[in-house]
Every structure is written in structure tokens, then in C-alpha cells.
Symmetry: C2
Subunit: 206 residues, 2 copies
């Protein structure tokens, strides 16, 4: 992807329980021109899921063709199904000057960063591991303690990757976290590389 675009590609990562989904939902509600990337998957659609809204659905073969064609920015396999970020919808939306948010984990983030160096990456952290544990227990849907312990181990590993991101937001207070994500998006749109064309236009008319 080119770097001349006025648009913005935002990678958002954070451990399970950091509140990524909630923060994104609020930011989307409060901002114009900001969309969440819809994933491509080989998992069969559930009856209520809509193509292009919940997921882009495709066969395993189609997914592999897209990977080969460079049309998947990052992907992973869970439970025998592929999940990935399709390049085209992201590129089109960003080229038009808008903001696309990718809600992806640290390995996917690394891949997108390599493919799209102009992407802005944000890591959401919990205020403490204790709070993270409490949040994971509170949303516990009957998992045994080992499952939560396993998630905490993964969270620890993920937090170790925070330094690879451009920004770090602590999600202690939801309102503050949303405000900070919005501020990052607003500020990044004001980056010189995204505004210098406008200054050139002003000067041309001198």
C-alpha cells in the first residue's frame, strides 16, 4: 500500500480481556469515516451471519488462491478454519481517505506491519494482571480455572510485544480509553505526510 494516502490503517491488538471490542465499538459510534475490517473465513456461515457484514465467506481453495495472489494481509488457522484480513476492502477504504481498524492479535499485527509499513499500531493493556484476571473470570462461561490460567499466560506473552506498537493505551477507564483511541486517529490524520499535499495546494495559488 502506498504512503501518500490521506487515509489511515489502524492495527489494534491487546490481550483477551483488555476490552478491545468494547473500545472499538464506542470509537466507531463516535467517529465518521471509521470502519472495522471484516474478516475473510473458510468457516461455514451461521444462519444469522451476513456476507460482507459479519465475514466474507469463501472455500478453503479460494482462501489459498487469495493468499497466493497476495490478497490476504494476514491470516491464521483456528479449529481447522482459516481467518484472515482481505487486502482489497481495506485498501479501497483507506485510499478514499478513511480509517480502517484491524482488530488482530500480535502475530497478525506483525505481518500487517511488514506489508503496510504506514499502518499505525495501537496496543491496549489492562491496568494490571489482577484486573485482567478479574475480567476474564467475570466473563467466564463455565471454563475451568486452567482455561483462565492459560489465557493469562498468553496475555503475559502478548504484553511482551507491546513495545513493537506505535501507541499504548491503558484500558483502566473505558471512556478514557475510547477518547485516547479517537485522539490517536485524529492526530494521525494530521501527520505531515497526510497533510503536505494541502500545503502545496495553498502555496500553488500564491
Amino acid at each position: 500500500m502506498t504512503d501518500n494516502s490521506k487515509g489511515l490503517l489502524v492495527i489494534l491488538s491487546g490481550p483477551s480481556g483488555s476490552g478491545k471490542d468494547t473500545v472499538i465499538t464506542h470509537a466507531l459510534e463516535e467517529m465518521n469515516g471509521v470502519k472495522l475490517s471484516v474478516s475473510l473465513t473458510t468457516r461455514p456461515p451461521r444462519p444469522w451471519e451476513k456476507e460482507g457484514e459479519d465475514y466474507y465467506f469463501c472455500t478453503r481453495e479460494q482462501f489459498q488462491d487469495k493468499i497466493a495472489a497476495g490478497d490476504v494481509l494476514e491470516y491464521a488457522e483456528y479449529n481447522g478454519n482459516f481467518y484472515g484480513t482481505p487486502r482489497e476492502p481495506v485498501e479501497e477504504w483507506v485510499k478514499a481517505g478513511n480509517t480502517m481498524i484491524l482488530n488482530i492479535e500480535v502475530i497478525g499485527a506483525e505481518k500487517v506491519r511488514a506489508r503496510c509499513p504506514e499502518a499505525v499500531s495501537v496496543f491496549l493493556v489492562p491496568p494490571s494482571m489482577k484486573v485482567l484476571e478479574e475480567r476474564l473470570r467475570a466473563r467466564d462461561t463455565g471454563e475451568n480455572p486452567e482455561v483462565i490460567a492459560g489465557r493469562l499466560k498468553i496475555a503475559e506473552r502478548e504484553l511482551g510485544c507491546a513495545g513493537q506498537y506505535d501507541y499504548i493505551i491503558c484500558n483502566d477507564d473505558l471512556k478514557e480509553a475510547v477518547k485516547n483511541l479517537k485522539a490517536i486517529i485524529h492526530a494521525e490524520h494530521r501527520r505531515t505526510k497526510r497533510q503536505i499535499g494541502f500545503v502545496r495546494e495553498v502555496l500553488k495559488k500564491c
Copy 2:
């Protein structure tokens, strides 16, 4: 200045008539922990001016001693008087995790950038040269047309330096411009280099 500080040094430049003072005044009113740097000058104080509020006043000799000691981040001479940015108050305020705004022109900005590479620089541009001209005429206090023409020439030259700044804000709408400056300050505080210490603290307690 060290780069480990959580605080922020913001350079704000823009041509005369771009609205720097008004944007700063509003941003200061709406944010905590943000101050405008007070300049050091050899100009004699006017009766209503307060030391440390309007300016830090000193003799020509004291000013030159401070320059020699590296205690002036940037300075210039106008009408036979020195004006500059004293290092110490800026450094102390920023070290404490706060934000200091320097309202300085492009040459001063270049000097501060060289001394403080961690500084974040913002350039304020008018929506067009026509609007800038109208603003300069509106605030005209009886200057002859040549004065305004001269200011426009300087503005043109300054706009040519916008590419050296980190961010560019167009001051078309005052409210939007203030919002953007605030967003940049909020976002820059979330930069990984200013937050990674917090993540390390969270991980230490694992």
C-alpha cells in the same frame, strides 16, 4: 533532554495570521498539565508585565551568559532586544510528565528540534493565502499595504517549511483546529516510548 520522560514538548509554529495564539489559548483552557513557555527577554518590562508570567526579564549580559551555558533553547534579536526560550523551566515541567508548548517561528523551531529531538512539532496553516490576507487586513492597525504584502511573503516562505514538522493543522475552523491540537497532545502521551514503562510494571507483578 532525555527521551524517557513521560512529558511532552510541543513546538507550535505558523505564519502571522494563522491563529496560533488563539488556538493555544483555547487548548490551554481545555487541558490540564499544559503550559505555554514563558520567554526570556532583554527588553525592559512594561509597567503591567510580571516576571515569570509575561516574560523572564534579564540584562543583555545575563542573556549572553545563559546562551554560553546552553540555558537558552533558541533565541532571536528583534529591535535590538534578545528574546529566547529558557531551557530550565521547560525541562522541569516536561520531566514532571506535563506538556509545554513553545510558540516559536520556523528558525527557532529548527534550533529546538536539534536540541530536543523528542519534541513534537506542529505547523498551523491558514486554509488559503487569500484567507490569510483577509485576516491580516482585518487585524490591520494602520499599517500600509506594503507591510501586509511583506507579511504575506514571509508567510509564503514559512509555509515552505511545513514539511519539517511532525503534524500540520489547517486552521479553517477554530474549534476543529483546537480539537486537533488537543488530539495530538493526547495521542503523543500514548506513544509507546512514553508508556512502555507502565507495561513493564504490569509485567513485573506477574
